[in-house]
Every structure is written in structure tokens, then in C-alpha cells.
């Protein structure tokens, strides 16, 4: 490619040349007083947005609307984030073009990126009714409705200001006035100050958004997958985390395996929040990997234990408890269960007639002893029978004077023999929640899973 070609291909070459700023309104004129009043309103409202809105797209939209309402006749704000461009624009008297429908195109992105890298204000005079004008507007506003809105305003000049925060440009605000007026030097000084305030606030929004994105990604990787009806099982689960601010915790539920032969895993990794969630993810992965080799739950938890012990830098870091159950559906609709317990509260089988049976299967907790070995117990779930596994967030839920305990479970499940899994899970979760009250500071991670043969009609 020749030097000549490269220069014309440069996006900024599409934007033409800068021109001088116009005069402001005469000092003391009614127009100037109105302008100062509007700027005051803008700064007040901007302070409100900065303190309340922490979502990048919403902040961009609200700032755009404030600029177009109080300060200029046209404004576009674009923000570059790890998840792509966020953009909104609005001309006074027109409907906002918001981030819901406004996608930054490829050419437009190139121009914006180059303008960001320059980190300085730019001022362009818009040539009237020429192909150059169309190219220029397309470079800045893509194929959005903003081009038409700007034409309708009869704008003659465009100001672009970088949004600078912590030493780099994170976005760009583009402004214009209507009715053949251009921005004055006084306007520009005010808008540069406004852009500084906006940049700091938007930068904080991006930090919040990035953190939420990390937690949300981790969270969605821990959600138990939906169990199709073809599996032959009716599975319902509930989980609530102690650290709701990050919305992840150490309790985990997983269901996997082929139809008719499912592995159900419920466990509790030590700690709370993100650290515990990462440990939970590791245990889930180890159990899934082991299950590909052999689906015997005692063997699966044995191998998982070895992985945890081998990988742990300290015993406390890898400590976890869990229940692993293999559920095989027979031709008669009865599910044969093998259950292995690694230091976890005992699962319950709620029989269709309402009887409760505790599954007395015991083994050491995971991640402590290298040579731990596990056994499993065998059970049968007829239609209407339900296996209920839960974490100690249920039994050790603290009420006014005592803990929820096994009595709490028995009371919650009374009369629910033969009810669908979701009714059983919900009733138990609800009872724990009512027992704890609003004392959220004592809350532990809580998880419940219920499994029963898929009923096709109980007479």
C-alpha cells in the first residue's frame, strides 16, 4: 500500500479541517443570563446522575439527554468498554437514539478510536449539502438516525471532546448547536469542564460494570443445568448466597449424566463469596471429570478428594463437604439410588406417604485426608418418593433462640409426601427464611435440591 493510499484511508482524513469558534452572547444580555441558568441546571442534574446511576449505558443516555436539554442542541456520548462501544445521541426536540438500538459500525469505530487516541478537542465546520458533509457525519454517527437529526437542526459546526480519566481517553462527547449557530469559545470552556466530570463518573461506571461482569460469569457457570423431562427425573433446586453483593458462594448443585443415569451433586466449599465459588467450581469440575470414567459415586468422591488434597496449598483452603448420588431409572419407573456422603448433613428421603428417612451414609469431608475412602448406600425411589439434599445453611439457620435443625425440616416437609420436587424445595426454603427473619448478617450460603421419579400421574 502506498503512502498516499494510507493517508486517504485514515479515518480522520474524512473529517475535514478545524475552524475558529464564534463569539458568545454579549455579557449581561438576556440570552447570556438564560444560558448561565441552564448551565447551572445541567451541573445540578449531572451531579444527580453521577451519584445515582452506575450502569454505563444508562449513564451515557442520561448524560446525553441532559446535554441536549440544557446546554446544546445536539449531543452524542460514546464510551469504550470491554464489552464494546456504548453510544447514545439526541437532538433537542427529537427522540433519543439510545444504546438499546444504536450500534457503532466498523468505520465509525475506526474514526472514534483514532479520535480517542488523539486525546484532544476537535472542532469541525460542517460544509453544507456536500458529499463531504455526508461522509463526515457518517464517520461520527454511522448509519444512525442522528445524521438526519443533525441535518434537521441546521448545524454548522461540531465539537468533539475526549472523555479523559486516569490518563487515558475512555470515550468521546460530540456536540453541536442548531440554527446555523456555532459554539463559542465560552461554550467550549464550559463543555470541557463538563466532559471532565462526566469522564470520571463514566470511568467509575465501567469499573463497577466490569466487576459485575466477572461475578455474573462465575455465577452463571455455577447454576445447575436444566434437567430435561427425558431424564426420567423431576429435579428442583434452590440456592441463596450469604454474600449477595457478589451473588456467588460456596454451595453448589450439579446434575449431569445421560438420561436414565444421572449424577446429582450437592456440596459446600469452605468460606463465602468469590473465593468459595472458585473452590466450588473446581469440585464440580473434578466430579464431572471423574464421572466420565466411572459413575460410582463412592469412587467419584474418592478421586475428587485426591485432586483437592493434591492441589491444595493449605487444608483449610480445600475443605468441602458434599453428597453425590447416582440415580438410575428402571423400566418400572422406580429410581435406584447410590448415595455417598463426604462429611455432609444427611440427605432425606421423603416417602410418598410422608415418612422421613435419613440416609445414614457417612464418609470423611473432602480435601483433608489423602487416603480417605468412601462407601455408598443403596435406596429405591418409587413414584412419589423424593430425595432431598441440603447444605448446613438449612439445618444451622439461626433463629431467635435455636437452630432450624432436623425438627425444622420435619415440620416444613409435613404433608408434602408425593408433592412435586419444586413444592418441596420451595416449602423448605420458605420455612428457613421465615425462621431466620431479617437477621441477614448471620446468613450462611443455603442450597437445596430435590429429586424424584418423574410422575406421569399419581392416582
Amino acid at each position: 500500500m502506498t503512502e498516499e493510499l494510507r493517508r486517504t484511508a485514515s479515518p480522520s482524513a474524512l473529517l475535514g479541517t478545524a475552524g475558529p469558534f464564534g463569539e458568545g452572547a454579549p455579557a449581561g444580555s438576556a440570552e447570556e443570563i438564560e444560558r448561565l441558568h441552564q448551565r447551572g441546571r445541567f451541573l445540578d442534574d449531572l451531579a444527580g446522575v453521577v451519584s445515582t446511576v452506575h450502569h454505563p449505558a444508562r449513564a451515557v443516555e442520561m448524560m446525553t439527554a441532559l446535554l441536549a436539554e440544557h446546554v446544546v442542541e445536539f449531543a452524542q456520548v460514546v464510551l469504550h468498554t470491554h464489552q464494546g462501544w456504548v453510544a447514545a445521541g439526541q437532538a433537542a426536540g427529537h427522540r433519543p437514539v439510545d444504546s438499546g438500538g444504536y450500534r457503532v459500525g466498523r468505520l465509525q469505530a475506526q474514526v472514534l478510536t483514532e479520535l480517542l487516541s488523539r486525546q484532544r478537542p476537535e472542532h469541525w465546520l460542517l460544509p453544507p449539502d456536500t458529499p463531504e458533509r455526508a461522509t463526515m457525519l457518517a464517520s461520527l454517527f454511522g448509519t444512525s438516525e442522528l445524521v438526519g437529526q443533525l441535518d434537521a437542526l441546521d448545524a454548522v459546526g461540531i465539537l468533539s471532546l475526549p472523555l479523559l480519566a486516569r490518563g487515558r481517553a475512555i470515550g468521546l462527547v460530540t456536540l453541536a448547536r442548531g440554527e446555523r449557530r456555532d459554539l463559542s469559545a465560552d461554550d467550549v470552556a464550559f463543555l470541557e469542564d463538563a466532559a471532565r466530570r462526566m469522564a470520571v463518573a463514566l470511568d467509575a461506571c465501567v469499573v463497577v460494570s466490569d466487576n459485575r461482569f466477572v461475578a455474573a460469569t462465575l455465577r452463571s457457570s455455577l447454576v445447575p443445568p436444566p434437567v430435561p423431562t427425558s431424564s426420567g427425573l423431576d429435579v428442583a433446586s434452590y440456592s441463596r448466597v450469604a454474600q449477595e453483593e457478589v451473588a456467588v458462594g460456596g454451595d453448589f448443585i450439579d446434575v449431569h449424566g445421560p438420561d436414565g443415569d444421572k449424577t446429582i451433586l450437592l456440596g459446600d466449599a469452605v468460606g463465602k463469596g468469590v473465593v468459595a465459588a472458585i473452590a466450588a467450581k473446581r469440585i464440580r469440575a473434578a466430579v464431572r471429570t471423574a464421572s466420565l470414567v466411572d459413575r460410582d459415586p463412592a469412587w467419584v468422591l474418592g478421586l475428587t478428594n485426591k485432586v483437592l488434597v493434591a492441589e491444595a496449598e493449605s487444608a483449610i483452603e480445600s475443605f468441602a463437604t458434599g453428597v453425590c448420588a447416582r440415580a438410575r431409572t428402571g423400566a418400572d419407573g422406580v429410581v435406584a439410588l447410590e448415595i455417598t456422603n463426604a462429611g455432609h448433613p444427611p440427605p432425606i428421603i421423603l416417602r410418598r406417604d410422608g415418612r422421613l428417612e435419613y440416609v445414614e451414609s457417612h464418609g470423611p469431608a473432602l480435601g483433608v485426608f489423602d487416603d480417605a475412602s468412601y462407601t455408598s448406600t443403596h435406596h429405591r425411589l418409587a413414584p412419589g418418593d423424593t430425595l432431598v439434599c441440603y447444605t448446613d445453611g438449612v439445618t444451622e439457620a439461626r433463629g431467635r433462640a435455636d437452630m432450624f435443625g432436623e425438627d425444622g425440616i420435619a415440620a416444613a416437609l409435613a404433608g408434602l409426601g408425593g408433592a412435586p420436587s419444586s413444592a418441596i424445595v420451595e416449602r423448605l426454603a420458605m420455612s428457613v427464611s421465615a425462621f431466620v427473619g431479617d437477621a441477614a448478617h448471620d446468613r450462611d450460603d443455603t442450597a437445596i435440591v430435590a429429586v424424584q421419579p418423574l410422575a406421569t400421574g399419581l392416582a
Binding site: 446511576v53 450502569h55 453483593e245 431467635r400 404433608g415 412435586p420 426454603a429 420458605m430 427464611s433 410422575a455
Partner: protein, 331 residues
């Protein structure tokens, strides 16, 4: 198979047959019956019957729960089915979602699920968070999803205090809040007093309500009047107030044990409703709960001394709360 779908649906729900209930409902949807009609004709009708059967003491709470769980599974399947049917002819909406949540401690998820299905039928993008959504969880969703509006569902008047928390949470980040559900009065007085941006009186006028919502709203700050402070103090003491009041009802009431337990079970709800009445300044809440409690007692052949025992036990706990006592005594 010639039987009326509503009757077949009811038969399936009443014997916990999720499979059959699901099949009746999804076949109607596939035959082209609109979602709101399926929801109202099958699920809504069944839920009213379930409520009546519990109130009249024909069904236990556990049976009511089990049957409701069937309807919940059905609505979940209907939403999935609708998404499948719509996927073919609808472009993926880039629209901001509508966030549908239940108030914290509000476990009646079905109305919010039905609302989600209805909104999706009308072409809205919905993020449904389920029952018992804490204020922190709501705040997280507001940060992540940046919804057009938050729709808060509450079925019980004891949830009104928690509705207010959601109103404060959403408006603090400028998001409009629409409230609705059987916890509210028809005229929307309670919704207004709770600071909601709008009140959804019925599914029918929801579209016009949504269309009229502002894009941004002013923050609704915490309430500081005496009645509201009493309401918050009562909620903070709820587990201990309830435990003490229940113990008193058990020792004072003369009716048979089953009836006493059914009525004593309602004690936390009674305290929560008094708090809701304090917050909204709406004394009809206390009148409603009185009438309802009497109904529960009558159906269980308890004489009025049992419900009377509840109110005197409640009054005892409310000794330090003059506004609450006024409400309870003038019921």
C-alpha cells in the same frame, strides 16, 4: 380427551400430575390460543379454586403448595414454549428488559411468572428473578441489566413493607417501579403511598401503564414519619414478636389444636400487615386481615375466641407502638 381443557387441567393440578397439566396447557398454546387466555382460563382459574379449598379447610397448606407448584411448572413450560414459537418470526429484541420480581419474603411467585409470560406475549423482553428477591439481589440486577422498569409483585399485605424497599432500591438508580398484585387496593392508594412510579391495576391496562412510564425517575428516599418508624421496628422484631404471640395464642385459645395451629400460623402475616398499614396509612388493610382471619377460623370450626386471642396477643407485643395500637384497636 373431549373434556373441557379447564376441567382436565384442574383434574391434573389437583392430583399433582405435572406432566398432564403441562400437556393440556402447551397444546392450547400450540393450537394458537393466546397466552393470556391460556393463563387466565387454566392457571388463574385453578389458583382461585386452590385458594378457596384452603380457605374452606378442604385442603391443607401442603396440598395447596403442591398444587401451586404444578401450576408454576406449567407456566415455566409455557414461557419456554412461547419463546420457541416466537423465535422463528421475531428478531432478537435489543430492547432494555423489564425486570419482574417478587418483593422480598413474598413467596407467591405465580402471579409474577404469569405477568412475565403475558409481557413476553406482547413482545417485551423480560428478566424474571422469581420469588423472595432481596433488595441486594434486585440492586445487582439493576446494575447488570439496566432495565427499562422494575415490576414488583406482592400478593400479601404483609409484603408491602418489602415493596417499599424495592421502590427505594430501584428509584435510587433512577429506574421506574411499577407495583401490582393482590396486596394492593384497586384504586392504587397503597401503591401511591409506597412511592411507586405507577400501579398496575390489571394485566389489561399494563401496556398503557408501561407506555406512560418516564425513562428516569427521582429517588424515593427512606420514610421517617413516626408510623413508618414503628413499621420498621415491628418488622425488625418480627421473629420474636411472632414466637411470643404464637405461644400466647396456643395457651389461650379454646378451639381444637389443628384449628389453633392454622390460625397461629397467620400471626407473622398479621404483624406484617399491621406494618404495611402503618407504612401506607391505609387502615383498610387491618380490616381486611380481620375479616380474613375470621374466615380462616370459621372454616375450621373455631369460635371467635381463637381469633380474638390472636388480636390480644398481637396487641400485647405492640405496647410500645401507639400508631400500631390505634390501628389494631379501631379495627
Amino acid at each position: 380427551m373431549t373434556a373441557d381443557p379447564a376441567e382436565r387441567y384442574w383434574a391434573a393440578v389437583s392430583r399433582n400430575d405435572t406432566h398432564e397439566a403441562r400437556s393440556v396447557a402447551t397444546s392450547l398454546l400450540r393450537e394458537g390460543v393466546p397466552m393470556p387466555t391460556v393463563l387466565e382460563g387454566l392457571v388463574g382459574a385453578a389458583q382461585r379454586r386452590i385458594g378457596e379449598l384452603w380457605a374452606s379447610n378442604d385442603w391443607s397448606v401442603a396440598r395447596e403448595h403442591a398444587a401451586t407448584a404444578v401450576s408454576e411448572q406449567v407456566v415455566r413450560s409455557l414461557r419456554e414454549e412461547q419463546a420457541r414459537l416466537a423465535a422463528a418470526d421475531r428478531s432478537v429484541g435489543a430492547d432494555r428488559p423489564l425486570l419482574v420480581v417478587c418483593a422480598e419474603r413474598e413467596w407467591h411467585a405465580l402471579p409474577a411468572m404469569m405477568l412475565s409470560a403475558t409481557l413476553e406475549h406482547a413482545g417485551h423482553t423480560v428478566q424474571y428473578l422469581g420469588a423472595d428477591v432481596s433488595t441486594t439481589a434486585l440492586q445487582g440486577a439493576l446494575l447488570e441489566a439496566a432495565p427499562r422498569a422494575a415490576l414488583v409483585s406482592a400478593s400479601l399485605s404483609s409484603s408491602l413493607v418489602y415493596v417499599r424497599r424495592h421502590v427505594e432500591a430501584a428509584t435510587s438508580v433512577a429506574v421506574p417501579v411499577v407495583v401490582g398484585g393482590s396486596a394492593f387496593d384497586r384504586d392504587g392508594v397503597r401503591a401511591l403511598r409506597l412511592g411507586a412510579t405507577a400501579f398496575a391495576a390489571s394485566a389489561a391496562d399494563l401496556e398503557s401503564t408501561l407506555a406512560a412510564l418516564p425513562t428516569y425517575v427521582e429517588p424515593v428516599g427512606p420514610l421517617r414519619d413516626d408510623a413508618a418508624l414503628e413499621a420498621y421496628a415491628i418488622m425488625a422484631e418480627l421473629p420474636s414478636f411472632s414466637a411470643d404471640a404464637v405461644a400466647r395464642v396456643r395457651s389461650d385459645a379454646a378451639a381444637d389444636a389443628v384449628a389453633v395451629e392454622a390460625i397461629a400460623d397467620q400471626v407473622p402475616h398479621v404483624f406484617g400487615s399491621v406494618a404495611g398499614a402503618l407504612l401506607t396509612g391505609d387502615s383498610t388493610i387491618v380490616a381486611e386481615i380481620t375479616e380474613w382471619l375470621d374466615g380462616v377460623g370459621r372454616a375450621r370450626a373455631a369460635d371467635t375466641t381463637t381469633t380474638q386471642a390472636v388480636w390480644s396477643a398481637v396487641e400485647r407485643q405492640l405496647g410500645e407502638f401507639p400508631h400500631a395500637l390505634d390501628l389494631v384497636r379501631s379495627r
